[in-house]
């Protein structure tokens, strides 16, 4: 039968084109970003960058590296994620176990969603004012707290969604075999949820390690290696920012190299968590 170009076929064709365009935009942006970082950063990257702290005149193009920022970022984002997990997991479990779909649960979820949407500079400023009030100076601890607050709503809501997806029948299947509640939680529920939680952790870690605004006031910046919770600490996003704002092309190139390092860290974390998720998730009941 001959195809007629009825309205609905035209509509479908238009939507197919739109889909292709949006795909090209997303994939194209990623490719362009990677290309920019790689083409500008790769020539500038060297061993010293990864293994040394900045020496005098680093920002003028002299020797040194950004190990201080790499370590600072890993420590702050890592600790922030851990703290957010410690605080967020009980919230998520409480939401699921006790509040369920009550009015309070809706308020808590709404609050978390709003917190998720708040710009990170606001978290930075909020923590900074708080730190001023108690007489605390810019420090690694301040940065960790700011990142914890930034990551908390993301982690909690992502875990909340994972827990909500848990099939009730699965618990019942385990209970029917004479399991205790604890055995159900440890042997069955965690197995089912772990892949989702790993993904949630990655999401939060990625947001934390890539954020400049929240650590700008709270952690400050320093050329020293991170050595104390109460001293300022460097971070990769700020290293990128400071190097990029220098008027020397070779320093700007180093900014791209730093961006490359940050991207690789996020990429490794992301691929790593995917690998873990798929290992843990092969038995998950859908």
């Amino acid at each position: 039968m001959k195809k007629r170009w009825a309205k609905r076929h035209v509509a479908e064709a238009i939507f197919k084109v739109l889909m292709l365009v949006s795909f090209a935009m997303v994939a194209g942006s990623l490719a362009l970003i990677l290309w920019t970082i790689l083409s500008k950063g790769l020539p500038a990257i060297n061993w010293a960058m990864l293994t040394q702290a900045p020496k005098g005149g680093y920002y003028l193009g002299k020797e040194g590296g950004i190990l201080n920022a790499i370590l600072g970022s890993l420590i702050m984002a890592g600790s922030g994620t851990l703290l957010a997990l410690i605080i967020g997991l009980p919230i998520a479990l409480y939401l699921e176990t006790y509040l369920r779909n009550s009015l309070w649960a809706r308020y808590v979820r709404l609050a978390l969603d709003i917190l998720w949407g708040i710009p990170s500079i606001v978290y930075g400023a909020f923590c900074f004012i708080f730190m001023l009030a108690i007489g605390m100076r810019a420090s690694m601890l301040g940065g960790i707290i700011a990142l914890t607050l930034l990551e908390l709503p993301i982690l909690t809501r992502a875990m909340d969604e994972v827990i909500r997806m848990l099939p009730r029948d699965l618990e019942q299947a385990a209970l029917a075999l004479g399991s205790t509640r604890l055995e159900v939680a440890l042997r069955v529920v965690t197995r089912q949820m772990l892949p989702g939680i790993v993904t949630a952790i990655l999401l939060a870690f990625g947001r934390g390690i890539g954020d400049a605004a929240s650590v700008l006031f709270t952690a400050g910046y320093t050329d020293r290696m991170p050595n104390s919770l109460l001293r300022p600490a460097a971070s990769l996003p700020l290293a990128i920012y400071f190097q990029l704002s220098m008027p020397y092309p070779e320093v700007q190139k180093r900014a791209y190299a730093a961006a490359l390092i940050l991207t690789v860290i996020v990429l490794v974390a992301s691929l790593g968590s995917r690998w873990i998720s798929s290992r843990l998730g092969k038995n998950v009941i859908k």
Binding site: L170, A173, L177, G178, R191, I285
Partner: protein, 251 residues
């Protein structure tokens, strides 16, 4: 007859709504008892009363006693995990645990510490997979995810998993209703083979299935037990008007 489960003055309500009223019933040992009736009559609720699953339902209130081997399972001193070990459940839809085929069967053996060593565990897992009629199909992929099995195979896996902890009683809540006809037949055959060793209580709304399987029949209607007795008597010569109407297909 030898009574295995004795239910006396059993009432269940969900919130305000009364679901089961004044159930008095004795379920014989080593036979297949089929609880039948139209949907919404309280069959599943009655079944869930026998392994204390009702307490998982929010707002459910239970009054009365259920004696298994002469012990009231609703006695506050009873260990609910021991009761559920003794009373296995085959649910309407199979729900494998998120682990491999082997681990699904081994799960109960592990939590109840029923095996001394790995070899004993291997033997038990193999034995109960055979018992459930699944061994031939899965023996080469024991350590693959249970989710890879078809629904019918999953239900037999759940049967193996339930049998592995050596229950005395097996409850089945319409265990074939989610299955294709061939898998359903498979399960029915297994149940008929298993009644030598277990007391089986089945809920079904399929009259023909009830006739194929039942030794003893309980007919429920609107939360009441209307009639119970040996299958042949109830099917051939029902005493109550409502049973007669149901058997004639009027509900």
């Amino acid at each position: 007859m030898d009574t295995h489960i004795k239910i006396t003055d059993f009432h269940v309500s969900y919130g305000e709504q009364s679901v089961l009223e004044d159930i008095n019933l004795e379920i014989p040992k080593g036979e297949i008892t089929v609880i039948m009736g139209p949907s919404g009559c309280g069959k599943t609720t009655l079944l869930k009363g026998m392994n204390r699953f009702l307490e998982l339902v929010e707002g459910a209130h239970v009054k009365g006693q259920v004696f298994i081997d002469g012990e009231d399972i609703y006695d506050p001193g009873m260990d609910v995990t021991e009761i559920r070990k003794k009373v296995g459940l085959l649910a309407q839809r199979p729900y494998p645990l998120p682990m491999s085929i082997y681990d699904n069967v081994a799960y109960g053996l592990r939590i109840h510490q029923m095996c001394k060593n790995g070899r004993e565990m291997d033997e038990r897992v193999c034995h109960y997979l055979q018992e459930a009629g699944l061994w031939e199909e899965v023996k080469d992929r024991l350590h693959k995810p249970a989710l890879g099995l078809s629904i019918g195979q999953q239900q037999r896996l759940c049967l193996a998993r339930g049998l592995a902890i050596k229950p005395e009683i097996l409850l089945g809540d319409e265990p074939t209703s989610a299955l294709d006809p061939i898998s359903a037949q498979h399960i029915e055959k297994r149940l008929l083979a298993l009644k030598e060793e277990y007391t089986i209580v089945l809920v079904t709304h399929i009259l023909r299935q009830a006739k194929r399987l039942a030794d003893y029949v309980v007919f429920m209607y609107l939360g009441e037990m209307v009639e119970c007795g040996p299958a042949r008597e109830v099917f051939e010569n029902p005493q109550k008007e409502r049973t007669r109407a149901y058997l004639a297909g009027q509900f």
